[in-house]
């Protein structure tokens, strides 16, 4: 099993992929190291959120993804 990183909205273009499979467990520094420099830069901005296993993290630097978790990278939204 592994952790699936999911790129949403404009981060998908930056990553050049929809998803990325990485080895579990995955923490914040592991995430920054896995996604490439451009996405890592975005991730460090306050306006980008991270969800793990369907929940938005109040503190994304506390990420602790385990086997089978999906980690979604959530840029600023724009609906309607």
């Amino acid at each position: 099993m592994a952790v699936t990183i999911l790129f949403l909205g404009p981060l998908r273009d930056l990553a050049g992929a929809e998803t990325l499979e990485v080895e579990a467990p995955l923490d914040w520094s592991g995430l920054l190291g896995s996604v490439g420099e451009e996405v890592a830069d975005q991730l460090q901005q306050e306006r980008v959120n991270v969800a793990c296993a369907g929940r938005v993290l109040a503190d994304k630097t506390a990420l602790k993804a385990k086997d089978g978790d999906e980690v979604a990278l959530l840029p600023p939204v724009s609906g309607g």
Binding site: G9, P10, A51, G54, A72, P75, V77, S78, G79, G80
Partner: protein, 137 residues
């Protein structure tokens, strides 16, 4: 999505309401937008909208609330989003629509991009959208 049919259904479901307010957002027919694409993140988007509906029902005295947001690719003139609110008194209905739309625009899990001149461009919420949202907190 057929906004007229949705509003008719809401009206039929709330016979005791004194009024129905609504907003339908759509893709503008001119201005050079060839297509609009809305994406979402299913594990967050629907629960987020359900939570938004619960907040609206707590804030306003509503008899019914319809909230529909499309995803996928849409063309000029197509409806994107519909909020309809039925209430005993008109201002509850109007304010609930205003409240839900402000949240759907800049606090719901949707990402929007437009195709212009054959190229896709991601859209961020306008400054005004954040200011509109801040009115409610």
């Amino acid at each position: 999505m057929d906004p007229g049919a949705e509003l008719e259904a809401l009206t039929a479901a709330t016979p005791d309401a004194g009024g129905i307010a609504s907003f339908v957002g759509k893709v503008r027919a001119s201005g050079g937008v060839e297509a609009l694409e809305l994406s979402h993140y299913e594990p967050l988007t629907l629960p987020g909208m359900q939570e938004l509906a619960a907040q609206a029902e707590q804030r306003f005295a509503l008899m019914g609330l319809t909230m529909i947001h499309r995803i996928g690719t849409m063309g000029p003139g197509d409806p994107i989003v519909l909020v309809g609110a039925a209430a005993r008194h008109r201002r509850d209905a109007i304010l609930a629509v205003d409240f839900c739309m402000d949240h759907l625009k800049s606090a719901a899990w949707f990402w929007k991009r437009e195709k212009r001149g054959g190229e896709w461009h991601w859209i961020e919420p306008r400054i005004e959208d954040h200011a509109d949202l801040a009115r409610w907190s």
